[in-house]
């Protein structure tokens, strides 16, 4: 693969994927503005706002990915932190569990440091084994047992869902050298970001155009079978097309794309269920047109760990 810009010293694959992302953003911005100019309406207004947010999100993701690995780790850790911070008040974990909430925040830098130092075994055990005992114990030590089952279940869940899952993206930096693979962890990271992002967009698009039958009518009426199937199939194809970012064979890439799309959908559905129970529409309004951090990152944090393990299995375990 040739570099687009010779003087820019990042891998050719990364240059190409950034070029593709820019093309999609420019094309959609032009298309929506043209549509808005010819026939203004509510849908196109929403699309314009969403696209503007995508520009900003893509810029942030690309810059943090291409920067020094420490910056990437800090950026990912911030996303975990933002998810927890957004959800704790909504889950009513605030005044009583204050100190334990602080411990949960403290877990985030530790988990990402373990990833950065490559202490993989401890990384894998730290939250689901150690914190799973330690945090409920801290809650019990306070001596107030009223409603403690709720906080005992919620706090380790929050860590596994939003910190443990997401931190597997930092673990991509610890993959051993794979012969013939030049895009590096940055390539894999952009690959996943691209797939999860395009999965949301395509499920939205297929659902809006063809959607008839809801998958989960009681949880989220906007998710339709047509959107789900269309999204999963097209993401599998895109995953094959973009496989130059990965060490995967075509069929492996297709399977990875399929899993990412399905896991993304599952994460999305779980988040919808949580929001429905809490009686809120969006988890926040940090990202205009999309909602809060959870509304955008739900699929991402659910797909991260499966993605890591698939890549590891295909390119390290089975290749050895």
């Amino acid at each position: 693969m040739n570099k687009l810009i010779d003087l820019w010293d990042i891998a050719a694959e990364l240059q190409w994927v950034i070029f593709i992302i820019l093309c999609i953003l420019v094309a959609s911005s032009v298309a929506w503005n043209l549509w808005n100019f010819l026939k203004p309406g509510k849908l196109v207004q929403e699309l314009l706002v969403r696209t503007r947010s995508w520009w900003i999100m893509c810029a942030c993701f690309i810059v943090t990915t291409l920067a020094h690995p420490i910056v990437t780790h800090v950026g990912l850790a911030f996303l975990s932190f933002a998810l927890c911070r957004e959800m704790y008040p909504l889950l009513k974990l605030d005044v009583r569990e204050r100190n334990v909430v602080l411990v949960c925040y403290g877990v985030i830098p530790i988990q990402y440091t373990l990833a950065y130092l490559g202490m993989t075994t401890l990384f894998l055990a730290f939250i689901p084994v150690l914190m799973f005992v330690f945090i409920p114990f801290l809650l019990v030590v306070k001596g107030e047992t009223q409603g403690i089952v709720r906080s005992i279940s919620l706090m380790p869940y929050s860590l596994v869902a939003w910190v443990y899952g997401m931190s597997h993206l930092a673990l991509l930096f610890q993959l051993p050298d794979i012969p013939g693979f030049t895009a590096g962890p940055q390539g894999l990271l952009l690959y996943l970001i691209f797939l999860v992002g395009i999965n949301d967009v395509l499920q939205f698009a297929w659902g809006k155009t063809l959607g008839r039958r809801a998958v989960l009518p009681k949880v989220s009426p906007n998710k339709t079978w047509e959107g789900l199937v269309g999204g999963v199939l097209s993401v599998s194809l895109i995953a094959v097309g973009l496989r130059f970012l990965t060490p995967l064979e075509p069929w492996q890439a297709a399977l990875t794309g399929f899993c990412v799309a399905v896991m993304g959908f599952m994460g999305d559905a779980i988040a919808s269920g949580i929001k429905r129970d809490l009686g809120i529409k969006n988890s926040g309004n940090a990202i205009p047109g999309h909602g809060g951090y959870l509304d955008r990152l739900d699929g991402f944090s659910a797909a991260a760990a499966p993605f890591f393990h698939l890549v590891y299995f295909f390119s390290v375990t089975s290749a050895a």
Binding site: R85, P89, V95, V101, Y105, K281
Partner: protein
């Protein structure tokens, strides 16, 4: 009106050089970043441009962070001319607190008790507005019960009725008490929202009680509006 002390005796309007820079760095840079990135405070800005002259900011009060967050929405060119109004008995009871309230928070301390010896707070604040300074008032008078708004004291009414040309900007603060509740000293980031209302001008002759009531109602409405924005509509997401 009786002849009281003249304005400059009550309040020295001179701000040392460098205070503006210090406050700008502290609030527009450090606290603003801290609120935005760490605490996750969301700002709902008012649609109308900020008035150029003196302003009375009025907000509900549940946490020590309230005053800090209010300072971050003050325009840069007026930050050294904007003073939180704080209680003498709480913030003035040690030398360090007095020093930091004056230099780092730019606050003015007033007495909450009604003793003869004290300067009348309204007279002092009135003198400050007349010399072109802005005020940040928490008319509930204390941080009170978390998440519950107490009835407003009439100080806002007294000040606004004397200055029909000075607008009142109501601000609703939601959730900051979770980050730093009363009686705690560690900040645990848990988000929050700051809703900045449109400036309200009260025409000459509006009574003190009316102004107080209307300001309180404005903040109540903002709270209600924010609550409704986040609810699920009846049909689906």
């Amino acid at each position: 009106m009786t002849h009281g002390p003249i304005d400059s005796e009550l309040f020295d309007a001179h701000v040392p050089k460098g205070r503006q820079w210090l406050l700008w760095v502290l609030y527009k840079l450090m606290w603003r970043t801290f609120f935005g990135v760490i605490i996750g405070l969301r700002y709902h800005w008012s649609k109308t441009p900020h008035p150029l002259g003196p302003v009375i900011y009025v907000a509900n009060h549940n946490s020590h962070l309230d005053g800090m967050s209010l300072m971050t929405i003050v325009p840069s060119h007026r930050i050294h001319l904007t003073h939180s109004v704080a209680a003498q008995d709480f913030f003035g009871n040690s030398g360090f607190r007095r020093w930091s309230m004056k230099n780092l928070v730019n606050a003015v301390l007033i007495s909450r008790s009604k003793r003869e010896a004290d300067v009348d707070p309204v007279q002092l604040l009135d003198a400050m507005i007349r010399q072109g300074h802005s005020l940040i008032l928490f008319p509930e008078g204390t941080r009170g019960v978390p998440g519950v708004m107490a009835d407003f004291k009439r100080g806002v009414g007294h000040l606004a009725s004397r200055h029909p040309d000075v607008p009142v900007i109501p601000v609703y603060l939601d959730g900051l008490y979770r980050n730093l509740p009363k009686g705690r000293s560690i900040i645990v980031p848990l988000g929050g929202t700051l809703v900045m209302g449109d400036p309200v001008y009260f025409p000459e002759g509006t009574s003190v009680d009316d102004i107080t009531e209307q300001t309180q109602a404005a903040i109540h409405n903002m709270a209600e509006e924010l609550r409704q924005q986040n609810q699920v509509p009846d049909h689906g997401r």
